[in-house]
């Protein structure tokens, strides 16, 4: 490697070390980890925003927060749920308690929960997409009386891919309708089978008065958003969380473009109506 001797200075591109303090396997390939740095070196994260996580010497990836804990406007604890799909996420998933992970952030836009005050809330998640909406569910249930009906619709490929099972049970008892579906049943699964939008008819909410938050694979978000709009939800009140190749988080590297959007800066959370026409263009 080209090692260069030089003075170093702190700056926004250098990740801040956080230590893994807890780690729990969600599924065979997905881990939820809690990171801590008691100095609280990073600004407060809001639900929907993401951090750039560095596996030291391996690389850096964008990961949304799956829980937000903020004290005094600073972030001392971060909770991330990571699925091992490449070398960096594999290294992150393998990080044991005590290991150090580099963190930069907060980056991107947050779920606009204020837009849902006084309204019904529909949250739809596919697969690992449940992670970025999890802090949103926490926020809604923590302030339950501010909202009308609350429905959480969750899809997974198979029962074994379902994340946050305990949470789903807890949330069902805390004022949310929770419905789960899988693409392919297995084992003793006796629940719903089918794509996530097929759960919509059984959810109780007033479409004309609802705000929807959707996170999952792009194709799932498109079909869900279209189904919500057909059901009567205003297009401006459907929020989705986009995914593109985000390599810097700051709008410097250019990778995450989707038409006029820099997803790391203008997203990941956007109003569906802003991008609906872009998502139908192939290879954009």
């Amino acid at each position: 490697m080209d090692t260069v001797a030089h003075a170093v200075v702190p700056g926004p591109a250098f990740p801040v070390p956080y230590r893994v303090v807890a780690r729990r396997a969600e599924t065979a390939d997905t881990v939820t980890m809690e990171l801590a740095n008691d100095d609280g070196p990073l600004d407060a994260f809001a639900p929907g925003q993401f951090a750039m996580l560095t596996a030291y010497g391996i690389g850096e990836v964008p990961i949304s927060l799956s829980a937000v804990a903020v004290a005094g406007g600073r972030t001392r604890r971060l909770v991330h749920t990571v699925r091992a799909v490449g070398a960096v996420t594999r290294a992150l998933c393998g990080a044991a308690p005590g290991a150090v992970i580099g963190v930069r952030g907060p980056y991107g836009t947050a779920w606009d929960l204020a837009a849902a005050a006084g309204r019904d809330v529909v949250i739809v998640a596919g697969g690992i997409g449940l992670a970025p909406v999890r802090p949103l569910v926490h926020a809604v249930l923590a302030d339950r009386s501010r909202f009308g009906d609350v429905a959480l619709l969750v899809g997974a490929r198979t029962p074994a891919d379902l994340v946050f099972r305990d949470d789903l049970r807890r949330w069902a008892g805390a004022g949310a309708q929770v419905a789960v579906t899988v693409d392919r049943p297995a084992g003793d699964w006796d629940g719903h089978v089918g794509v996530v939008p097929s759960l919509l008819p059984q959810a109780r909410f007033d479409a004309g008065h609802a705000v929807a938050f959707v996170c999952g694979p792009e194709i799932m978000m498109r079909f869900t958003a279209e189904a919500l709009i057909r059901a009567g939800v205003a297009p401006a009140r459907v929020q989705i969380s986009l995914e593109r190749s985000m390599r810097c988080g700051c709008g410097w590297c250019g990778h995450c473009q989707l038409g006029p959007l820099l997803v790391c800066r203008d997203g990941p959370v956007v109003a569906y109506e802003r991008v609906a026409h872009l998502l139908t263009v192939r290879e954009l």
Partner: protein
């Protein structure tokens, strides 16, 4: 710094060409690393100048789509050449740069940071189109929530000596992009070169206090209105000699409507997806990080290198790339450069320097592609 306060403008001054020596010496004496045009390997490139003798006196260039050749001029003009294969991006946003370095600490953490700034650059010979390109890069890399430290580390404290263009090439179209051939701001000093018969002069304007201070130390004399007017006319004449024209009208609208155009297949048949256009473009800023380590993994560095929307992996998202066809990749480049850039950064990404036309090995000409897209849309 070039932007910022512009004091009461001192009147234009006149320098003999021989005073370029004193200028370069003065800049170096002030601690600047002076970057400017010089000849290497059959092209005018940008490199560190140790003296004005390094400048490409008497060198002209002939350009066309996919073609660039040096030629001898019949005068000693130092800036009588249109854009070469490099731009100020090579200095300010270099092809490969260290982002941070770190070492593992005994407790398993990481200690390190970003490289400290080491040099202050003087950019000598910045064309108005390229000055506009620097302003574009400023907006992209410093206009967001956080400024890019690699860029600011090289950009902050620049001293910019612009040279107005009296020598546009066959692939130039700055006048239709509104970025040249003259300039009125963004520089510390602006020169206009006058070569006529035995006379070789520069009309000089100071744009900042620092520029005026440097000018005051040079063997300058007042420029009379006649010669200032001659300089103005030379620049005005250059505006009429552009080899290319960018179609007027809203390019963002044209390109948004052209997303499904069959013309993208036509250009994809000619496009090598080699990435040259993005590398020579003075505003294409895309990069990819590289995390490297020594073999123990204890010392780690993050570098970044220029990347390009023509690279297949550029849009990689677990499972595959978003833009796989050459059609989609060329569409992304052209649409971003001339269209979506406006919404992202408040201006066009194109300054009309013509580099992407000259240095495309396949000779693809974006002004013609825009015309063809417009024609296909109209038809």
């Amino acid at each position: 710094m070039a932007s910022g306060t512009r004091p009461r403008t001192p009147p234009p001054a006149l320098l003999d060409a021989t005073a370029l020596e004193a200028l370069v010496d003065a800049l170096r004496a002030r601690g600047f690393t002076v970057m400017g045009p010089t000849v290497r390997d059959g092209a005018v490139v940008i490199a560190e100048l140790t003296s004005a003798a390094d400048l490409p006196y008497g060198v002209g260039v002939d350009t066309d789509a996919g073609r660039y050749r040096l030629r001898a001029r019949d005068d000693r003009a130092a800036f009588g050449h249109s854009a070469g294969p490099q731009s100020w991006k090579n200095v300010l946003h270099p092809p490969r740069a260290l982002v941070w370095s770190a070492d593992r600490t005994p407790d398993g953490s990481m200690a390190g940071g970003e490289p400290a700034r080491e040099r202050r650059y003087a950019l000598l010979g910045v064309r108005p189109c390229d000055l506009a390109a620097i302003k574009v890069l400023d907006r992209v890399l410093t206009g967001g929530r956080q400024a890019d430290p690699v860029y600011t580390g090289r950009r902050d404290g620049n001293l910019i000596i612009a040279v107005e263009c009296t020598e546009p090439g066959a692939v130039c179209f700055c006048s239709s992009m509104g970025t040249g051939p003259g300039t009125d701001d963004g520089f510390d000093l602006a020169l206009t070169e006058l070569v006529d018969g035995g006379e070789h002069l520069f009309v000089v304007r100071a744009g900042t206090g620092e520029g005026a201070e440097i000018l005051a130390g040079l063997p300058a004399r007042p420029a009379d209105e006649g010669i200032v007017e001659r300089a103005r006319e030379a620049v005005g004449a250059a505006a009429g000699r552009m080899g290319r024209t960018m179609r007027p009208g809203s390019l963002p609208d044209l390109l948004a409507e052209a997303r499904g155009s069959p013309h993208w297949d036509d250009v994809a048949a000619r496009c090598l997806t080699c990435g040259n256009c993005t590398m020579v473009c003075p505003t294409c800023f895309c990069t990819t990080p590289e995390d490297v380590t020594d073999l123990t993994g204890d010392h780690a560095e993050r570098w970044r290198r220029w990347d390009s929307c023509f690279d297949l992996d550029f849009s990689y998202l677990h499972g595959g790339s978003v833009r796989t066809s050459g059609r989609a990749r060329y569409r992304q480049w052209l649409t971003h450069k001339l269209g979506t850039w406006h919404e992202q950064f408040g201006s066009s990404g194109c300054v009309g320097c013509g580099r992407c036309i000259a240095w495309c090995p396949a000779g693809i000409d974006l002004t013609r592609e825009i015309d063809a897209l417009a024609a296909a849309g109209a038809g």
